[in-house]
Every structure is written in structure tokens, then in C-alpha cells.
Symmetry: C2
Subunit: 242 residues, 2 copies
DNA sequence: CATCGGTATTGATCTGGGTCAAAGTTGTTG
DNA sequence: CAACAACTTTGACCCAGATCAATACCGATG
């Protein structure tokens, strides 16, 4: 359901929301890594790592948004995931990444030397459990996205995406609060399996129908949340009926 | 790459290929579960568990094939994964499944009481690491499938699927050995985000082009493997170029 | 071996979204 | 503030694949 923006139990003290790997919060457990972590900033639009590249670090996104994507020989691109603060780049036990990772905004990473991280995973059972949970969350979200890519119409795809952005902007429950699209039209298109023209048209159409207004290209306000949710093609609450 | 048919290191002694959870192989480690496992058979076409249902067991597929799918209100269905021998239904730490699970063929399950299984995951670090690895494998495969669903043409989708079936039929390296489609045209369509008519047409077209022959509806032989692989739209070896 | 129900093929037609093209908008840089 | 580049919108047209419909192919069953 929440592909982009998972709510996870964080420590609340720092941008790396996973206690298990937040070196700032669980000093004792992670003291092994203390000397080994380093921060790095990547500018908007720059590649972070290419598919197949050797992975020397396991990194956690501290701030900004990165995308995971694959491009076919002829240039068709599919974004298969967005990485937000607390998400990882690289996994213990994997030499390479399977997708291109790109900075969608300026991105700050907290990097751990891979070998040490893997050792940690082996030594601290708590951590492999946490990584397992994260992987299972993302697996479920990826499958949810497969339904969107395989079976939803353009209108439903856009509505699902917007609804996700709105749901993510957790803090301001003030109705009518404006939200910000984190991606360009082209990036949205590559995420939804559409073209940028179709994205633009559908957004215009939702505007015409009074579902949204745009303050500018990126900032928008939802006028009719019920209509938006209806348009996603999902069950009422995206949840369990039984 | 290998969404359906992962090659995994098994114990080679039993149908549950994961040592970590194969009670028949690692008797010592898993003796806790000895008394708690039970076998169950589900007939072809029957539901195994519905999305949202309470999950009393974690099961491992012993034989047969099951599908994970989601159906929208109006009947559009997307298959998000196939479960083969050694794959799990249910995950430690999750009360419910997020997708409908259906027996595509007759399926035999080996079931463990969920609570006990979860305890095992907590107590034996080896196991959470194994589940983590499996989840990461499936996550990568799911993302690979997202590329197919979002960006590939009907022809490329079919070619990818056939190539996968062929690659899975690991044993007979005898060229020209016939293979069997594990799914009906409709099931293939729901897996590829197509209609059954399009699946049928593309298969006919590949037959006409001399890529395949069909012995009957389900059994086929690849005549031109290179052409098949070309048609998938993937890189030459589906792998790392750097 | 005739009938029947599920499955598959093939044809005819339609259409959602892609493609190609031309402005319009906004932000940036000298 | 002019000029340019990057992004976005909108229009016109097209086509891959969906939809609708008819027929063919099995395998099972009495």
C-alpha cells in the first residue's frame, strides 16, 4: 500500500529512523560501526550507483529522495522504487545492486563499509530480523505496485500516486493543506508506466474535475479526497474487508 | 530475473529445499517444530487463503504451484507471484497475507504453527538471516517483474515468460527437449498484465516465426533460443555488463 | 462415441494511451 | 531583464492491445 512512504517505528531522535542501524541512537549495539560510518552527499540528478557496480558500502538515506530504476537498451525506463530517509541502498550478502540508483533530490547518505555491516548482521540477531522485516514490507509494497502497473488505467495510476503522496505528508492534518510532488512529470511517468504527456493530461483532467488545484507545478491541494480515493481503483480503505 | 523459479541452495534430500526450515534435514535445529508440522493438500483451482485472512500457519510449498494475486472490484486480476516448492506462504511477524493465494495445480503444503515458527525465528539467528535472504531475492525478482509490467510490449512479455519457463526446466539440457507451460492462457495473461487473447495471438505469432512449436496446448519446444532471448527486451545475458 | 464444459484460437472492430509536434511557463544566468 | 534551457501543457493523429464475437479443440462423462 505504502510503496513510497512506509511508516516505520523510528527512534525519533534522528533522520535514520531504524533504531537497529541508527548509530546515533543505539551507540552500544552499533559501536562496532562507529569508526566506519561516513556521510556523503549526492547532488540532484546525479547517479549514486549503477546496476552491477561493486558495492563497497551499505548506505542509509539520511535526507532527500533517491530512485531505483532500470532502463532497457532503447531508453524505456521503469522506476521500481523510491528510497526515502531510513531506506537502504545495498543489502547484506549482495555484491552488487540490481538497479540504477539516482538522486532525485539532493541526497545525504550515511555509509557503512559493507563487510563490517555484514559481520554485524551475523553477530547481532536483532539486526537481521529488522532487515528481514524491512525486506518483507518492501516486497509487499512492490507487489502492490505490480497490480498498479499491470492492471490500472492511467487515471487510476495517477490517483493512486497522488493519494500516496498525500498520505505520506503525514504531519499537517489541516484539511486543504498544500502538498508537494517530489518528482517531475517524467519521473512520475517512469514510476507509473506511462508517458509524461499522459501524466500531464490526467493531472489537468483531475484539476478540471475539481479534485485538485495546483498552486504551481509542484505544489497542489486536494479539494475532494473522496473522489481521489474513489479514482484509485482500490478497496475503500485499501484494507481488509473479510 | 528469476521471478518464478529461483535457483536456491537446497539440501538435496527433500522437497523443502531450504535447509534452514527443512525439518527433515536439520533435525537438531528444528526439533522444536517437529511435533508441530502438518501436511495438507489443496486441489487445483481451490483457494489456499484469502487476502486479509488470519494466518494461523506459516506454510512451505512441498509440491505443486500456487499463485499470489489481487483482484480489483471489477474483476481485473493481477498475479504478483508464483509459489513453487520451497516457497513460503505467510511471513513471521505478519498476522495476515496481503494477497489471495490459490492452488494453480494440486498443492501439498508443509505447515508450521505460526507462533512456534516466529519463536524459532527469534531464537535461531540463522533462520532470520535465511528468511531475510529469501525476501531480498523475491524483492529483486518482483522489481524485475515491475519493469516487465510497466515497460515491455506484449511480445517481450511473452518471450520473457517463456524464457523463464525454459530456464527453470533446469534438468534436461538436451536441446529440443519439450517443456510444459504451468499455467493456462488466462493465468499467463493475468501474470503478464495482458488479456488471454493477446497471449494466444503472441504464442501463435512466435510459432509462425519458427521460434517455438507446440506438441499440444501445454507442451512446447523452443526451436530458436537466440531469437527467444532477443525478443525478451533484456540485456544479452540478463546480467551485469558494467 | 455423442454431448458438453472448459479452454484456445482467430477475426473484426474499437479505444486508451502512445507518438509527434508546437506552444506556453518558469527559473536561471550573464 | 533578456535570453535560454528545462519543464509542462495541449493538440492531432496513430497503433498496440483490448473488447466483442464466433468457431475450434480437447478431455471427461454417461
Amino acid at each position: 500500500m505504502n510503496f513510497v512512504f512506509n511508516e516505520r517505528d523510528g527512534c525519533g531522535k534522528c533522520p535514520i529512523r531504524h533504531r537497529a542501524v541508527c548509530a546515533r541512537c543505539d551507540e552500544d549495539e552499533l559501536s562496532v560501526l562507529e569508526g566506519m560510518k561516513s556521510y556523503k552527499t549526492i547532488e540532484q540528478g546525479e547517479p549514486i550507483i549503477w546496476r552491477g557496480d561493486d558495492l563497497h558500502h551499505i548506505s542509509s538515506v539520511v535526507s532527500g529522495i533517491a530512485s531505483l530504476s532500470r532502463t532497457l537498451e532503447d531508453g524505456r525506463t521503469q522506476v521500481v522504487g523510491l528510497l526515502l530517509p531510513s531506506d537502504f541502498i545495498g543489502s547484506p550478502g549482495r555484491q552488487t545492486v540490481d538497479f540504477d540508483v539516482t538522486a532525485v533530490t539532493d541526497v545525504t547518505l550515511c555509509r557503512f563499509e559493507r563487510r563490517s555491516f555484514e559481520k554485524l548482521v551475523q553477530d547481532v540477531p536483532h539486526i537481521s530480523q529488522r532487515v528481514m522485516e524491512m525486506a518483507l514490507d518492501e516486497l509487499s509494497a512492490a507487489r502492490e505496485w505490480m497490480v498498479l502497473l499491470g492492471r490500472k488505467t492511467a487515471r487510476e495510476k495517477i490517483a493512486t500516486f497522488i493519494e500516496m503522496v498525500v498520505r505520506r505528508d503525514t504531519v499537517p492534518i489541516h484539511a486543504g493543506q498544500p502538498h508537494t510532488l517530489p518528482l517531475t512529470r517524467e519521473e512520475i511517468a517512469n514510476f507509473l508506466g506511462l508517458t509524461l504527456e499522459t501524466v500531464s493530461r490526467q493531472l489537468s483532467s483531475m484539476k478540471k474535475d475539481g479534485v485538485l488545484t495546483f498552486e504551481d507545478r509542484r505544489r497542489f491541494t486536494v479539494l475532494d479526497l473522496a473522489a481521489l480515493q474513489d479514482a484509485t481503483g482500490d478497496d475503500a480503505d485499501g484494507g481488509i474487508i473479510v
